[in-house]
């Protein structure tokens, strides 16, 4: 019953035999060993598992690994692969936009997508754009600051 999938993750080619029911998040975490994306709900509500699939932010708990066949996946581990932090990672650090850090990989991926779609978002646009990602620690204020700071840096 297993199927073969070929896909690119963080710039590397992977081929695996997987069960059709295997969720992409479990594939990434348990088989590929990329444990940066987290599982906070398995019901697509919390966003901790957010990764980019062909450039679009996707909650990887609501996608099967077989659906990623031929796709290009980027996880949090792919952002600073060359050793240099992405501006959004740097901004989360500078602005204290994380506490326990569990939502952070998903929050950063969602924030990155938000900035790709809107390079200078207003506070309201940031808050709306991150509605799919829950954080229980920060009250979101420093996350809003981080997205603003990253926008300013990238735009500068």
């Amino acid at each position: 019953m297993k199927r073969t999938i070929n896909l690119t993750i963080n710039g590397k080619q992977y081929t695996h035999e997987v069960e059709p029911r295997l969720l992409l998040i479990h594939y990434l975490r348990d088989i590929v060993g990329l444990t940066g994306p987290h599982i906070g709900c398995e019901t697509s509500l919390c966003g901790a598992c957010t990764v980019a699939v062909d450039g679009k932010a996707v909650k990887s708990c609501t996608m099967f690994a077989v659906q990623a066949e031929g796709r290009n996946v980027v996880t949090i581990e792919g952002l600073a692969a060359n050793g240099t932090l992405d501006p959004i990672q740097e901004a989360f650090w500078n602005e204290h936009a994380l506490q326990c850090g569990f939502c952070t990989p998903g929050m950063i991926m969602a924030s990155k997508q938000l900035l790709e779609r809107n390079s200078s978002p207003t506070e309201e646009e940031i808050r709306h754009g991150l509605e799919g990602n829950l954080c229980r620690c920060t009250g979101y204020q420093h996350i809003v600051n981080a997205v603003k700071a990253a926008a300013a840096k990238v735009g500068a």
């Binding site: 509500l45 650090w93 500078n94 602005e95 990989p105 829950l134 979101y140």
Partner: protein
């Protein structure tokens, strides 16, 4: 924006970005579910669908036959494991026996009944459905007041009144106060059950080392050492054969300040199968089976004179305990009683708690743990009293505050408030919102029919929990500081931070005390094989107690550094500063690395001095600390929809001396978010059969980014005299200050409609109905 660091700069008090963050922002941190081990198995737990039922029969045959399943255990198999512990003790407390798996009866929906162990997490979940259990459902009760009524179903058949304990506390002369009062105001106020919802659910990985007869448990917990002591007892293991490792923990908020059935169960499973086993709680399980917070029905009476002077307060507190006592369940409402005086000087208090069993998951600590409930009550009562007397809510508070020259202040509940200037945060908050102008704007808005509200809360806290006599398991904290032979510094703290940032704030303290670069300091925590012993992180205690233990260990080492420095320099008169020991006469000096290295080589030793450069300090606090503050919330209610808009949120907090104000702001924001969640959106809803209706994130509304207002955060800084750092604690402040300010604001908005009180959460539906009722 964080500042950059230079070596000789003082770091305490600076906004410094965290040392924890590089691993967290790159996805390379290790949480429990990130642990993989060779031969690791996966566990899935079968839970009762009924809130109350007898278990008539259990068949695991089909599950065991399922390919990939290696074991199934039921309550019969685990009967030898000791009960889930209750650490709290109260006179006459009834403690139900709490098996790790139910044997013949289940007491709440979600009660664990069996565990499947398989080679794969999907297979374990599949096989759960193959276990056959015959239940005989029984009547259940989920509402604590209904549980107290005559003829209610008995949660535990041996105690038909559903009463786990009653508790009475009294100070001053309450009867006299109420007899002399010119006005007495009464109100029933509820603090609804809340679901803590740490983003990381609970999880356990257990590994049995059969040759050593030793067990390692990795658990997402706030209390690794207490967990080790208690789980070793449950499993009958020598304590020194159990190692608990707390990897990265994705939030706790009190819900991981516990010892859970699953932690012992995974240890049991690992010992039985001889392989590592992992259990990760699903979000649904987290909602049904992890402890919840609050669950109060409070009947308040306040006695006062017509000029607003408060004379006394009475409280009948009905605490929904749930079906069992978890670690601190019965102790939580006693904290509410201690907190009842708030910031006010009245000296007459009477409180009666009734602890009630219900067929629900147990309540226990949740951010604030008893203190938000009390603060919500007293701050609502003061507002209701002000409205009754037609007084300004700020004025009545100023009139009743403990004055700044009366510290330490002894309360009617037996506390000694350490320090405070309670008027200052309120003055600052009033200035920030331009209060008088704002009231004029409100009057104008009301003329136009707009529902604009201004809400104030002035809260106090009991933090740095706490002195050992006041806590069930010791209230001290420990620190070991090791200056390595090369001069770098390793700190092992008994606190167990999980997002609070002590890897950074403790490094700041070390850098200042020893004059070393912050990058040369490593703070280690959460491994019982590495850290001496500790209590953990909860009750806003990490820095106030753990940081103080660190401070004293550093003082020991500074003295030792000077002894070795004097020996190396051949001087009697040396100074140690900025990481260098200097001979005051010759000006010659030795670096910390040279001194530390010499202390380990030990070619020569100062008199009566041991080799090495290590100090361990256990610090017992002489008192709690008492942070305080004032929050002002401006709201506007939409008449047509009942929707509440928060127009401004001002939080002025005094948490004593701030080690890192950037982290303090983060704590305040997060605390306010959870307070706002309670005030406006969150509620654990059980139906009459004890089924959790708000059992998923789809139905339980924790705040999203778009729901949060901008928080205007400010501070006053009144050092605590309880510890040499002057810190008080800030983890719970935002939550405690928030909910009464929000409800006071919305009640103020609706005052023209004759509204006097609203219970949380203030959902649009509830508000809309109130508006409709008023206009009907």
């Amino acid at each position: 924006m964080a500042t950059t660091i230079t070596k000789t700069e003082t770091l305490v008090g600076k906004r410094i970005r965290r040392r924890e963050d590089p691993r967290l922002i790159t996805g390379t941190a290790t949480y429990v579910d990130d642990i993989q081990m060779p031969g690791m198995h996966h566990a899935c737990i079968l839970r009762s669908p009924h809130a109350a039922a007898l278990i008539k029969s259990v068949s695991t045959k089909n599950a065991l036959a399922h390919p990939g399943v290696v074991a199934v255990f039921t309550g019969i198999d685990t009967a030898s494991v000791g009960p889930v512990p209750c650490g709290a003790s109260l006179p006459g407390l009834r403690v139900p026996h709490h098996d790790i798996l139910a044997r013949d009866r289940v007491y709440f929906a979600g009660h664990p009944v069996a565990v499947v162990v398989a080679t794969d997490r999907y297979i374990a979940r599949d096989a759960i459905d193959l276990i056959e259990i015959e239940y005989e459902p029984l009547p259940a009760v989920a509402d604590p007041e209904k549980a107290l009524a005559e003829g209610a179903p008995a949660v535990h058949p041996q105690w038909p009144d559903n009463t786990a304990f009653t508790f009475h506390q009294e100070g001053g002369d309450v009867d006299k106060a109420f007899a002399e009062a010119e006005v007495v105001v009464k109100q029933r106020i509820t603090s609804q059950r809340l679901i803590p919802t740490a983003l990381e659910t609970r999880g356990v990985v257990a590994e049995w080392h059969s040759g050593d007869k030793a067990l390692t448990i990795h658990s997402s917990t706030q209390i690794p050492h207490l967990l080790r002591t208690l789980v070793a007892q449950m499993l009958g293991l020598p304590e020194n054969r159990l190692r608990v490792i707390t990897p990265e923990v994705g939030g706790g908020f009190g819900s991981k300040l516990n010892v859970y059935a699953e932690e012992a169960l995974m240890g049991f499973v690992a010992m039985k199968i001889g392989k590592p086993v992992k259990w990760i709680e699903s979000r649904r399980e987290n909602f049904m089976c992890t402890t919840q917070g609050r669950g109060h029905v409070d009947y308040f009476e306040i006695a006062a004179m017509k000029d607003g002077t408060i004379l006394g307060l009475k409280l009948k507190l009905i605490q929904d305990l749930g079906a069992y006592h978890q670690l601190l369940t019965p102790a939580i409402p006693t904290l509410s009683v201690l907190m009842m005086p708030g910031l006010y000087k009245f000296q007459n208090i009477r409180a009666d708690i009734i602890g009630v069993f219900t067929n629900c998951v147990p309540t226990d600590a949740y951010r604030g743990a008893g203190r938000p409930e009390a603060t919500h009550g007293i701050e609502r009562m003061v507002d209701i009293l002000a409205a009754e007397l037609k007084m300004d809510p700020a004025e009545i508070r100023f009139k009743n505050f403990v004055s700044s020259d009366s510290f330490p202040f002894h309360t009617a509940t037996g506390l000694d408030y350490d320090s405070g200037n309670y008027s200052e945060p309120l003055k600052k908050a009033l200035e920030t919102v331009e209060y008088e102008k704002l009231r004029a704007e409100q009057a104008e808005a009301r003329k136009q029919g707009r529902l604009l509200g201004i809400g104030i809360s002035t809260y106090g806290e009991i933090c740095a929990i706490g002195p050992s006599p006041a806590t069930p398991a010791g209230g001290w904290e420990s620190a070991t500081v090791k200056i390595e032979p090369s001069g770098q510094v390793t700190v092992m703290t008994g606190a167990s931070p999980h997002g609070q940032g002590q890897e950074t704030s403790f490094a700041q303290i070390v850098a200042d005390e020893l004059g070393v670069d912050m990058d040369d300091v490593l703070v280690v925590h959460g491994d019982t094989a590495v850290v001496q012993y500790g209590i953990g992180t909860f009750g806003s205690r990490g820095t106030a107690i753990g940081g103080t233990a660190l401070y004293f260990a550093l003082q020991d080492l500074k003295a030792k550094i000077k002894k070795f420095g004097a020996l190396l320099l051949g001087s009697e008169d040396v100074t140690y500063a900025n990481g260098v020991c200097t001979d005051n006469k010759t000006g010659k000096s030795k670096t910390l690395a040279e001194i530390a290295g010499a202390s380990y080589r030990a070619m020569k030793l100062p008199p009566n001095t041991e080799p090495g450069m290590i100090s361990t300090h256990f610090w017992e606090p002489p008192n709690f600390t008492f942070p305080f503050g004032a929050h002002i919330v401006i709201t506007e209610v939409d008449r047509d929809t009942g929707r509440i808009e928060i127009k401004r949120y001002v939080a002025i907090d005094d948490c004593g001396k701030m080690i890192n104000p950037l982290l303090v702001d983060g704590q305040v924001h997060g605390g306010v978010a959870q307070g706002l969640g309670q005030a406006l959106w969150e509620q654990a809803v059980y139906d009459e059969n004890g089924q959790l209706i708000s059992g998923e994130l789809m139905d339980y509304a924790i705040p999203k980014a778009s729901m949060m207002p901008w928080i205007e955060s400010g501070h006053t800084e009144t050092p605590s005299p309880v510890n040499p750092l002057g810190v008080k604690g800030v983890g719970e402040a935002g939550t405690i200050g928030c909910s009464p300010a929000v409800v006071n604001s919305v009640v103020d908005a609706l005052r023209p409609l004759g509204v006097r009180h609203i219970d949380m959460p203030l959902t649009p539906e509830k508000i809309w109905k109130l508006i409709q009722g008023a206009s009907a």
